[in-house]
Protein backbone atom coordinates (compact mmCIF):
# COMPACT_ATOMS: atom_id res chain seq x y z
CA UNK A 1 0.00 0.00 0.00
CA UNK A 2 3.07 2.22 0.15
CA UNK A 3 2.85 5.23 -2.11
CA UNK A 4 -0.89 5.30 -2.46
CA UNK A 5 -3.87 5.35 -0.25
CA UNK A 6 -5.95 2.28 -0.29
CA UNK A 7 -9.27 2.44 -1.99
CA UNK A 8 -12.04 1.24 0.23
CA UNK A 9 -12.38 -1.88 -1.89
CA UNK A 10 -8.74 -2.83 -1.16
CA UNK A 11 -9.36 -3.10 2.55
CA UNK A 12 -9.65 -6.59 3.87
CA UNK A 13 -13.14 -7.59 4.81
CA UNK A 14 -13.85 -7.46 8.51
CA UNK A 15 -12.92 -10.87 9.85
CA UNK A 16 -15.93 -13.07 10.44
CA UNK A 17 -16.21 -15.57 13.24
CA UNK A 18 -15.35 -18.35 10.79
CA UNK A 19 -11.97 -16.79 10.03
CA UNK A 20 -10.49 -16.77 13.51
CA UNK A 21 -8.55 -20.01 13.09
CA UNK A 22 -4.96 -19.80 11.90
CA UNK A 23 -3.61 -23.36 11.90
CA UNK A 24 0.16 -23.65 12.21
CA UNK A 25 2.72 -26.43 12.08
CA UNK A 26 4.94 -25.30 14.96
CA UNK A 27 4.07 -24.20 18.48
CA UNK A 28 5.75 -22.85 21.58
CA UNK A 29 4.04 -24.70 24.38
CA UNK A 30 4.22 -25.21 28.13
CA UNK A 31 3.83 -28.68 29.58
CA UNK A 32 3.23 -29.12 33.30
CA UNK A 33 4.84 -32.44 34.16
CA UNK A 34 5.13 -33.74 37.72
CA UNK A 35 4.59 -30.20 39.01
CA UNK A 36 7.34 -28.66 36.87
CA UNK A 37 6.65 -26.31 33.96
CA UNK A 38 8.61 -27.00 30.78
CA UNK A 39 8.68 -24.65 27.79
CA UNK A 40 9.39 -26.21 24.43
CA UNK A 41 8.83 -25.76 20.72
CA UNK A 42 7.09 -28.65 19.01
CA UNK A 43 5.93 -29.66 15.57
CA UNK A 44 2.15 -30.12 15.59
CA UNK A 45 2.69 -33.84 14.95
CA UNK A 46 4.64 -34.44 18.17
CA UNK A 47 2.79 -36.92 20.32
CA UNK A 48 2.67 -36.28 24.04
CA UNK A 49 4.75 -39.44 24.42
CA UNK A 50 7.51 -38.18 22.14
CA UNK A 51 7.51 -34.78 23.87
CA UNK A 52 7.99 -36.46 27.26
CA UNK A 53 10.68 -38.89 26.12
CA UNK A 54 12.63 -37.12 23.40
CA UNK A 55 12.26 -33.49 24.42
CA UNK A 56 11.96 -33.54 28.20
CA UNK A 57 14.07 -36.72 28.53
CA UNK A 58 11.54 -38.30 30.85
CA UNK A 59 12.17 -41.76 29.43
CA UNK A 60 10.40 -43.68 32.18
CA UNK A 61 7.28 -43.55 30.04
CA UNK A 62 7.83 -46.27 27.43
CA UNK A 63 7.03 -46.49 23.74
CA UNK A 64 5.66 -49.88 22.72
CA UNK A 65 3.19 -49.97 19.85
CA UNK A 66 2.37 -46.27 19.24
CA UNK A 67 -1.18 -47.43 18.53
CA UNK A 68 -2.73 -47.46 22.01
CA UNK A 69 -2.72 -51.22 22.14
CA UNK A 70 0.02 -52.03 24.67
CA UNK A 71 -0.32 -49.42 27.43
CA UNK A 72 3.46 -48.96 27.94
CA UNK A 73 2.99 -45.19 27.56
CA UNK A 74 0.28 -44.83 30.21
CA UNK A 75 0.43 -41.55 32.15
CA UNK A 76 -2.03 -39.54 34.21
CA UNK A 77 -3.57 -36.45 32.64
CA UNK A 78 -5.42 -34.38 35.25
CA UNK A 79 -5.36 -37.48 37.44
CA UNK A 80 -6.86 -39.79 34.78
CA UNK A 81 -4.93 -42.53 32.99
CA UNK A 82 -4.46 -42.14 29.25
CA UNK A 83 -2.20 -43.43 26.45
CA UNK A 84 0.40 -40.71 25.80
CA UNK A 85 0.94 -42.11 22.28
CA UNK A 86 -2.63 -41.39 21.20
CA UNK A 87 -2.59 -37.65 21.72
CA UNK A 88 -0.64 -34.60 20.58
CA UNK A 89 1.56 -32.55 22.90
CA UNK A 90 0.07 -29.32 21.56
CA UNK A 91 -3.35 -30.42 22.85
CA UNK A 92 -2.23 -30.47 26.49
CA UNK A 93 -0.70 -27.11 27.30
CA UNK A 94 -0.66 -26.44 31.04
CA UNK A 95 -2.66 -29.58 31.90
CA UNK A 96 -1.29 -31.44 34.92
CA UNK A 97 0.61 -34.50 33.71
CA UNK A 98 2.00 -37.20 35.98
CA UNK A 99 4.59 -39.69 34.76
CA UNK A 100 6.34 -42.56 36.53
CA UNK A 101 9.13 -40.12 37.47
CA UNK A 102 6.64 -38.17 39.55
CA UNK A 103 5.65 -40.97 41.93
CA UNK A 104 8.61 -41.49 44.27
CA UNK A 105 9.86 -38.84 46.64
CA UNK A 106 13.61 -38.39 47.21
CA UNK A 107 13.84 -41.14 49.78
CA UNK A 108 10.66 -43.15 49.41
CA UNK A 109 9.09 -45.22 46.65
CA UNK A 110 5.38 -44.92 45.96
CA UNK A 111 3.43 -47.84 47.51
CA UNK A 112 2.70 -49.16 44.01
CA UNK A 113 6.41 -49.18 43.15
CA UNK A 114 7.22 -51.01 46.38
CA UNK A 115 4.41 -53.48 45.79
CA UNK A 116 5.59 -54.31 42.26
CA UNK A 117 9.06 -55.06 43.68
CA UNK A 118 7.78 -57.06 46.65
CA UNK A 119 5.30 -59.08 44.56
CA UNK A 120 7.79 -59.52 41.69
CA UNK A 121 5.28 -57.93 39.29
CA UNK A 122 7.66 -57.92 36.32
CA UNK A 123 10.27 -59.81 34.37
CA UNK A 124 11.91 -57.64 31.71
CA UNK A 125 10.34 -54.49 33.19
CA UNK A 126 9.59 -52.66 29.95
CA UNK A 127 5.84 -52.52 30.55
CA UNK A 128 6.22 -51.78 34.27
CA UNK A 129 6.03 -47.94 34.27
CA UNK A 130 2.85 -48.17 32.20
CA UNK A 131 1.46 -50.90 34.45
CA UNK A 132 2.14 -48.80 37.55
CA UNK A 133 0.65 -45.61 36.13
CA UNK A 134 -2.37 -47.54 34.89
CA UNK A 135 -2.73 -49.18 38.30
CA UNK A 136 -2.65 -45.75 39.94
CA UNK A 137 -5.49 -44.64 37.67
CA UNK A 138 -7.32 -47.90 38.37
CA UNK A 139 -7.10 -47.43 42.14
CA UNK A 140 -8.38 -43.85 41.84
CA UNK A 141 -11.29 -45.15 39.74
CA UNK A 142 -12.16 -47.58 42.54
CA UNK A 143 -11.80 -50.68 40.36
CA UNK A 144 -9.97 -52.94 42.79
CA UNK A 145 -12.98 -54.80 44.21
CA UNK A 146 -11.86 -58.23 42.98
CA UNK A 147 -9.11 -59.92 40.99
CA UNK A 148 -11.47 -60.13 38.01
CA UNK A 149 -12.27 -56.43 38.20
CA UNK A 150 -8.57 -55.56 38.34
CA UNK A 151 -7.80 -57.83 35.37
CA UNK A 152 -10.65 -56.41 33.29
CA UNK A 153 -9.73 -52.80 33.95
CA UNK A 154 -5.98 -53.42 33.44
CA UNK A 155 -6.59 -55.00 30.01
CA UNK A 156 -5.12 -51.94 28.31
CA UNK A 157 -1.67 -52.91 29.62
CA UNK A 158 0.04 -55.83 27.92
CA UNK A 159 2.92 -57.74 29.56
CA UNK A 160 4.62 -60.00 27.04
CA UNK A 161 6.59 -61.72 29.81
CA UNK A 162 3.27 -62.74 31.34
CA UNK A 163 3.73 -61.37 34.85
CA UNK A 164 -0.01 -60.79 35.17
CA UNK A 165 -0.57 -62.90 38.29
CA UNK A 166 2.00 -60.95 40.27
CA UNK A 167 0.86 -57.64 38.80
CA UNK A 168 -2.64 -58.27 40.18
CA UNK A 169 -1.11 -59.18 43.57
CA UNK A 170 0.96 -55.99 43.57
CA UNK A 171 -2.05 -53.83 42.74
CA UNK A 172 -4.09 -55.43 45.53
CA UNK A 173 -1.27 -54.85 48.00
CA UNK A 174 -0.87 -51.21 47.03
CA UNK A 175 -4.63 -50.58 46.97
CA UNK A 176 -4.87 -51.87 50.54
CA UNK A 177 -2.04 -49.61 51.70
CA UNK A 178 -3.41 -46.55 49.87
CA UNK A 179 -6.89 -47.15 51.32
CA UNK A 180 -5.59 -46.87 54.90
CA UNK A 181 -6.48 -43.60 56.61
Amino acid sequence: MKGRSAAITDLPAAPTITDVLAPRREFDITLLVNGVQHRLTVDARTTLLDALRDRLHLTGTKKGCELGQCGACTILLRGTRINACLTLAVMHQDAAITTIEGLATDDELHPLQSAFIEQDGMQCGYCTPGQIMSALGLIREGRTGSDDEIREHMSGNICRCGAYTNIVAAIKQAADILARP
Partner: protein, 327 residues
Protein backbone atom coordinates in the same frame (compact mmCIF):
# COMPACT_ATOMS: atom_id res chain seq x y z
CA UNK B 1 3.04 -38.85 10.19
CA UNK B 2 2.63 -36.55 7.24
CA UNK B 3 2.96 -32.89 8.28
CA UNK B 4 -0.25 -31.07 9.17
CA UNK B 5 -1.23 -27.73 10.66
CA UNK B 6 -3.16 -27.54 13.92
CA UNK B 7 -5.46 -25.06 15.60
CA UNK B 8 -7.67 -25.21 18.66
CA UNK B 9 -11.19 -24.02 17.85
CA UNK B 10 -12.53 -21.29 20.18
CA UNK B 11 -16.11 -21.81 19.00
CA UNK B 12 -18.11 -24.44 17.13
CA UNK B 13 -18.79 -21.88 14.41
CA UNK B 14 -15.07 -21.36 13.87
CA UNK B 15 -14.43 -25.11 13.70
CA UNK B 16 -17.31 -25.77 11.33
CA UNK B 17 -16.43 -22.80 9.12
CA UNK B 18 -12.81 -23.87 8.77
CA UNK B 19 -13.58 -27.52 8.09
CA UNK B 20 -16.29 -26.61 5.57
CA UNK B 21 -13.99 -24.22 3.69
CA UNK B 22 -10.58 -25.87 3.77
CA UNK B 23 -10.01 -29.05 1.82
CA UNK B 24 -8.29 -31.57 4.04
CA UNK B 25 -9.25 -29.93 7.35
CA UNK B 26 -10.48 -32.51 9.88
CA UNK B 27 -11.73 -32.34 13.46
CA UNK B 28 -9.81 -34.01 16.28
CA UNK B 29 -11.50 -34.77 19.61
CA UNK B 30 -10.29 -37.68 21.77
CA UNK B 31 -7.84 -38.55 19.01
CA UNK B 32 -7.63 -42.25 19.85
CA UNK B 33 -8.52 -43.45 16.34
CA UNK B 34 -7.12 -40.38 14.56
CA UNK B 35 -3.62 -40.83 16.03
CA UNK B 36 -3.50 -44.48 14.96
CA UNK B 37 -4.50 -43.52 11.43
CA UNK B 38 -2.01 -40.63 11.35
CA UNK B 39 0.80 -42.89 12.55
CA UNK B 40 0.00 -45.41 9.80
CA UNK B 41 -0.48 -42.63 7.21
CA UNK B 42 -3.95 -43.91 6.49
CA UNK B 43 -5.15 -40.37 7.10
CA UNK B 44 -3.12 -37.38 5.94
CA UNK B 45 -5.15 -34.29 6.83
CA UNK B 46 -3.88 -30.87 5.84
CA UNK B 47 -5.20 -29.40 9.09
CA UNK B 48 -6.44 -30.74 12.41
CA UNK B 49 -9.03 -28.59 14.15
CA UNK B 50 -9.04 -29.40 17.87
CA UNK B 51 -12.61 -29.25 19.18
CA UNK B 52 -11.86 -30.32 22.77
CA UNK B 53 -12.27 -26.77 24.07
CA UNK B 54 -15.89 -26.54 22.91
CA UNK B 55 -18.67 -26.80 25.52
CA UNK B 56 -20.05 -30.07 24.16
CA UNK B 57 -19.53 -32.42 27.12
CA UNK B 58 -22.10 -33.60 29.63
CA UNK B 59 -25.14 -35.80 30.09
CA UNK B 60 -28.65 -34.36 30.47
CA UNK B 61 -31.43 -36.76 31.40
CA UNK B 62 -34.90 -35.56 30.49
CA UNK B 63 -38.24 -37.38 30.83
CA UNK B 64 -38.31 -38.47 27.18
CA UNK B 65 -34.76 -38.11 25.98
CA UNK B 66 -31.20 -38.44 27.22
CA UNK B 67 -28.82 -35.98 25.64
CA UNK B 68 -25.15 -36.94 25.66
CA UNK B 69 -22.82 -34.18 24.51
CA UNK B 70 -20.49 -35.29 21.72
CA UNK B 71 -17.35 -34.51 23.76
CA UNK B 72 -18.43 -36.57 26.76
CA UNK B 73 -15.83 -39.31 27.21
CA UNK B 74 -16.74 -42.98 26.86
CA UNK B 75 -15.83 -43.71 30.50
CA UNK B 76 -18.15 -41.02 31.85
CA UNK B 77 -21.13 -42.36 29.91
CA UNK B 78 -20.37 -45.99 30.79
CA UNK B 79 -20.15 -45.11 34.50
CA UNK B 80 -23.25 -42.89 34.63
CA UNK B 81 -25.87 -44.54 36.85
CA UNK B 82 -28.72 -42.82 35.04
CA UNK B 83 -27.52 -44.27 31.72
CA UNK B 84 -27.02 -47.68 33.33
CA UNK B 85 -30.67 -47.64 34.48
CA UNK B 86 -32.36 -45.98 31.54
CA UNK B 87 -30.49 -47.79 28.77
CA UNK B 88 -28.13 -50.49 30.09
CA UNK B 89 -27.30 -51.57 26.54
CA UNK B 90 -25.48 -48.25 26.02
CA UNK B 91 -23.46 -48.47 29.23
CA UNK B 92 -22.60 -52.12 28.55
CA UNK B 93 -21.56 -51.49 24.94
CA UNK B 94 -19.18 -48.76 26.13
CA UNK B 95 -17.86 -50.77 29.04
CA UNK B 96 -17.03 -53.63 26.63
CA UNK B 97 -15.23 -51.27 24.24
CA UNK B 98 -11.52 -50.52 24.09
CA UNK B 99 -9.39 -50.19 27.25
CA UNK B 100 -9.73 -48.04 30.37
CA UNK B 101 -7.17 -45.59 28.99
CA UNK B 102 -8.91 -45.25 25.63
CA UNK B 103 -12.33 -44.91 27.31
CA UNK B 104 -10.94 -42.01 29.35
CA UNK B 105 -9.82 -40.25 26.17
CA UNK B 106 -12.27 -41.09 23.41
CA UNK B 107 -15.31 -38.90 22.80
CA UNK B 108 -18.82 -40.17 22.12
CA UNK B 109 -19.04 -38.36 18.79
CA UNK B 110 -15.66 -39.62 17.67
CA UNK B 111 -16.50 -43.15 18.75
CA UNK B 112 -19.37 -43.24 16.26
CA UNK B 113 -17.02 -42.14 13.48
CA UNK B 114 -14.20 -44.61 14.18
CA UNK B 115 -12.89 -46.23 11.02
CA UNK B 116 -12.96 -49.90 10.15
CA UNK B 117 -10.34 -52.30 11.50
CA UNK B 118 -10.09 -54.10 8.13
CA UNK B 119 -6.42 -55.07 7.80
CA UNK B 120 -6.21 -53.74 4.25
CA UNK B 121 -7.75 -50.36 5.12
CA UNK B 122 -5.14 -49.90 7.87
CA UNK B 123 -2.15 -51.01 5.78
CA UNK B 124 -1.20 -48.44 3.16
CA UNK B 125 1.08 -50.99 1.47
CA UNK B 126 -2.02 -52.81 0.21
CA UNK B 127 -4.89 -51.78 -2.08
CA UNK B 128 -8.19 -50.74 -0.48
CA UNK B 129 -11.19 -49.17 -2.20
CA UNK B 130 -12.28 -47.51 1.02
CA UNK B 131 -8.92 -45.76 1.48
CA UNK B 132 -7.95 -45.39 -2.19
CA UNK B 133 -10.97 -45.60 -4.50
CA UNK B 134 -10.54 -47.94 -7.43
CA UNK B 135 -7.45 -49.68 -6.05
CA UNK B 136 -9.25 -52.95 -5.28
CA UNK B 137 -10.43 -55.01 -2.33
CA UNK B 138 -7.98 -57.78 -1.38
CA UNK B 139 -10.27 -58.71 1.55
CA UNK B 140 -12.79 -60.32 -0.84
CA UNK B 141 -10.52 -63.33 -1.22
CA UNK B 142 -7.88 -62.60 1.39
CA UNK B 143 -7.77 -62.09 5.14
CA UNK B 144 -11.50 -61.84 5.66
CA UNK B 145 -12.14 -63.59 8.98
CA UNK B 146 -13.07 -60.29 10.68
CA UNK B 147 -14.97 -58.75 7.76
CA UNK B 148 -18.70 -58.31 7.27
CA UNK B 149 -21.33 -60.75 6.05
CA UNK B 150 -24.17 -58.19 5.82
CA UNK B 151 -24.31 -55.04 3.72
CA UNK B 152 -21.23 -55.95 1.70
CA UNK B 153 -20.49 -55.03 -1.90
CA UNK B 154 -18.02 -56.30 -4.51
CA UNK B 155 -16.01 -53.17 -3.69
CA UNK B 156 -15.78 -53.47 0.10
CA UNK B 157 -16.61 -55.96 2.84
CA UNK B 158 -15.05 -54.06 5.77
CA UNK B 159 -16.99 -54.41 9.03
CA UNK B 160 -18.07 -51.38 11.04
CA UNK B 161 -16.06 -51.96 14.25
CA UNK B 162 -17.88 -49.99 16.96
CA UNK B 163 -20.16 -51.13 19.76
CA UNK B 164 -21.83 -47.89 20.88
CA UNK B 165 -23.42 -47.21 17.49
CA UNK B 166 -24.96 -50.69 17.49
CA UNK B 167 -26.59 -50.03 20.87
CA UNK B 168 -27.80 -46.60 19.70
CA UNK B 169 -29.31 -48.04 16.52
CA UNK B 170 -31.25 -50.55 18.63
CA UNK B 171 -32.73 -47.68 20.66
CA UNK B 172 -33.62 -45.42 17.68
CA UNK B 173 -31.14 -42.79 18.86
CA UNK B 174 -30.20 -39.76 16.78
CA UNK B 175 -27.17 -37.56 16.42
CA UNK B 176 -27.45 -33.78 16.52
CA UNK B 177 -25.28 -32.24 13.83
CA UNK B 178 -24.18 -28.65 13.30
CA UNK B 179 -22.98 -27.74 9.87
CA UNK B 180 -22.39 -24.90 7.46
CA UNK B 181 -26.12 -24.82 6.69
CA UNK B 182 -27.37 -25.07 10.28
CA UNK B 183 -28.43 -27.80 12.68
CA UNK B 184 -30.17 -31.07 11.95
CA UNK B 185 -30.84 -34.47 13.46
CA UNK B 186 -29.86 -37.75 11.82
CA UNK B 187 -30.95 -41.18 13.06
CA UNK B 188 -27.80 -43.10 14.00
CA UNK B 189 -29.05 -45.85 11.70
CA UNK B 190 -28.76 -43.44 8.76
CA UNK B 191 -25.42 -41.89 9.76
CA UNK B 192 -23.29 -44.55 8.08
CA UNK B 193 -23.64 -45.51 4.43
CA UNK B 194 -23.48 -48.88 2.76
CA UNK B 195 -20.22 -49.23 0.82
CA UNK B 196 -21.86 -49.88 -2.57
CA UNK B 197 -19.64 -48.57 -5.35
CA UNK B 198 -18.33 -45.68 -3.18
CA UNK B 199 -16.95 -47.27 0.00
CA UNK B 200 -14.73 -44.20 0.55
CA UNK B 201 -17.86 -42.18 1.46
CA UNK B 202 -18.56 -43.66 4.87
CA UNK B 203 -21.21 -41.38 6.36
CA UNK B 204 -23.88 -38.89 5.27
CA UNK B 205 -21.93 -36.05 6.93
CA UNK B 206 -20.76 -33.18 4.72
CA UNK B 207 -17.47 -31.29 5.13
CA UNK B 208 -17.79 -29.10 8.22
CA UNK B 209 -20.56 -31.17 9.78
CA UNK B 210 -19.88 -31.53 13.51
CA UNK B 211 -21.71 -34.05 15.70
CA UNK B 212 -22.67 -32.06 18.79
CA UNK B 213 -24.74 -34.61 20.73
CA UNK B 214 -26.32 -38.04 20.80
CA UNK B 215 -30.03 -38.12 21.63
CA UNK B 216 -31.36 -41.34 23.15
CA UNK B 217 -35.14 -41.72 23.56
CA UNK B 218 -36.13 -43.26 26.89
CA UNK B 219 -38.56 -46.19 26.81
CA UNK B 220 -39.64 -49.29 28.68
CA UNK B 221 -37.69 -51.48 26.26
CA UNK B 222 -34.56 -49.31 26.64
CA UNK B 223 -34.69 -49.96 30.38
CA UNK B 224 -34.74 -53.68 29.64
CA UNK B 225 -31.84 -53.88 27.22
CA UNK B 226 -28.57 -55.75 26.95
CA UNK B 227 -25.34 -55.86 24.95
CA UNK B 228 -23.58 -59.15 24.21
CA UNK B 229 -20.14 -59.02 22.61
CA UNK B 230 -18.38 -62.13 21.32
CA UNK B 231 -14.66 -61.67 20.72
CA UNK B 232 -11.36 -63.49 20.38
CA UNK B 233 -10.11 -62.50 23.83
CA UNK B 234 -11.96 -61.61 27.00
CA UNK B 235 -11.20 -57.88 27.03
CA UNK B 236 -9.88 -55.01 24.88
CA UNK B 237 -10.86 -56.55 21.55
CA UNK B 238 -13.22 -55.76 18.71
CA UNK B 239 -16.37 -57.82 18.20
CA UNK B 240 -16.46 -60.95 16.08
CA UNK B 241 -20.21 -60.70 16.57
CA UNK B 242 -22.29 -58.57 18.91
CA UNK B 243 -25.96 -57.99 19.63
CA UNK B 244 -27.80 -55.06 21.19
CA UNK B 245 -31.28 -56.12 22.26
CA UNK B 246 -34.20 -54.47 24.05
CA UNK B 247 -37.51 -56.03 25.04
CA UNK B 248 -40.74 -54.85 26.61
CA UNK B 249 -43.28 -57.42 27.69
CA UNK B 250 -46.95 -57.14 28.63
CA UNK B 251 -47.58 -60.10 30.88
CA UNK B 252 -46.29 -63.00 28.81
CA UNK B 253 -46.47 -61.18 25.48
CA UNK B 254 -43.65 -59.27 23.79
CA UNK B 255 -44.87 -55.72 23.23
CA UNK B 256 -41.69 -54.18 21.84
CA UNK B 257 -38.45 -55.68 20.59
CA UNK B 258 -35.29 -54.08 19.22
CA UNK B 259 -32.33 -55.96 17.80
CA UNK B 260 -29.16 -54.53 16.24
CA UNK B 261 -25.88 -56.31 15.57
CA UNK B 262 -22.21 -55.49 15.19
CA UNK B 263 -19.01 -57.11 13.95
CA UNK B 264 -20.95 -58.63 11.07
CA UNK B 265 -22.06 -55.71 8.92
CA UNK B 266 -20.58 -52.82 6.98
CA UNK B 267 -22.55 -50.39 9.18
CA UNK B 268 -24.42 -50.67 12.49
CA UNK B 269 -27.16 -53.10 11.52
CA UNK B 270 -30.76 -53.31 12.64
CA UNK B 271 -32.47 -56.71 12.36
CA UNK B 272 -36.13 -55.83 11.78
CA UNK B 273 -37.02 -59.31 10.57
CA UNK B 274 -36.02 -60.63 14.00
CA UNK B 275 -38.02 -57.91 15.77
CA UNK B 276 -41.13 -58.72 13.70
CA UNK B 277 -40.78 -62.38 14.65
CA UNK B 278 -40.84 -61.39 18.34
CA UNK B 279 -43.43 -58.63 18.68
CA UNK B 280 -46.89 -59.84 19.75
CA UNK B 281 -45.70 -63.35 20.50
CA UNK B 282 -45.26 -65.08 23.86
CA UNK B 283 -41.96 -64.36 25.60
CA UNK B 284 -40.43 -67.83 25.69
CA UNK B 285 -37.30 -69.62 24.54
CA UNK B 286 -38.95 -71.19 21.48
CA UNK B 287 -40.13 -67.85 20.13
CA UNK B 288 -36.71 -66.32 20.74
CA UNK B 289 -34.95 -69.21 19.00
CA UNK B 290 -37.22 -69.02 15.97
CA UNK B 291 -36.75 -65.25 15.73
CA UNK B 292 -32.97 -65.42 16.18
CA UNK B 293 -32.81 -68.05 13.41
CA UNK B 294 -33.54 -65.19 11.01
CA UNK B 295 -30.60 -63.05 12.20
CA UNK B 296 -28.33 -63.98 9.29
CA UNK B 297 -30.97 -63.72 6.54
CA UNK B 298 -29.33 -62.30 3.44
CA UNK B 299 -25.79 -62.91 4.66
CA UNK B 300 -23.01 -63.07 2.06
CA UNK B 301 -20.18 -64.85 3.87
CA UNK B 302 -16.64 -65.12 2.53
CA UNK B 303 -14.21 -68.03 2.86
CA UNK B 304 -12.94 -67.24 6.37
CA UNK B 305 -15.96 -65.62 7.99
CA UNK B 306 -18.68 -68.14 7.11
CA UNK B 307 -18.69 -69.18 10.77
CA UNK B 308 -20.31 -65.84 11.58
CA UNK B 309 -23.58 -66.91 9.94
CA UNK B 310 -24.37 -69.39 12.71
CA UNK B 311 -22.48 -67.48 15.41
CA UNK B 312 -24.63 -64.41 14.76
CA UNK B 313 -27.87 -66.38 15.21
CA UNK B 314 -26.60 -67.77 18.49
CA UNK B 315 -25.34 -64.36 19.64
CA UNK B 316 -28.78 -62.84 19.07
CA UNK B 317 -30.53 -65.78 20.74
CA UNK B 318 -28.32 -65.61 23.82
CA UNK B 319 -28.66 -61.84 24.13
CA UNK B 320 -32.47 -62.08 23.90
CA UNK B 321 -32.60 -64.94 26.40
CA UNK B 322 -30.41 -62.93 28.78
CA UNK B 323 -32.60 -59.84 28.66
CA UNK B 324 -35.73 -62.00 28.94
CA UNK B 325 -34.39 -63.73 32.05
CA UNK B 326 -34.33 -67.08 30.25
CA UNK B 327 -30.58 -67.55 29.99
Amino acid sequence: MTPFAYAAAPTAEAAIGRAARVDGAEFIAGGTDMLQLLQERVREPAELIDINGLPLAGIEVGPDIIRVGALTRMAEVADDRRIQEACPVVAQALRLSASAQVRNMASIGGNLLQRTRCLYFRDVATPCNRREPGSGCPAQNGQNRMTAILGTSPHCIAAYPGDLAVALVALDAEVEVSGASGERRIPVEELHRLPGITPQIETVLEPGDLITAVLIPTSDHARRSHYLKVRDRASFEFAVTSAAVALDGDGGTIRQARVAVGGVATKPWRLRQVEVALIGRPLDADVIRAAAARASDGAAPRARNAFKVELLRRTVERALCTVAGLA
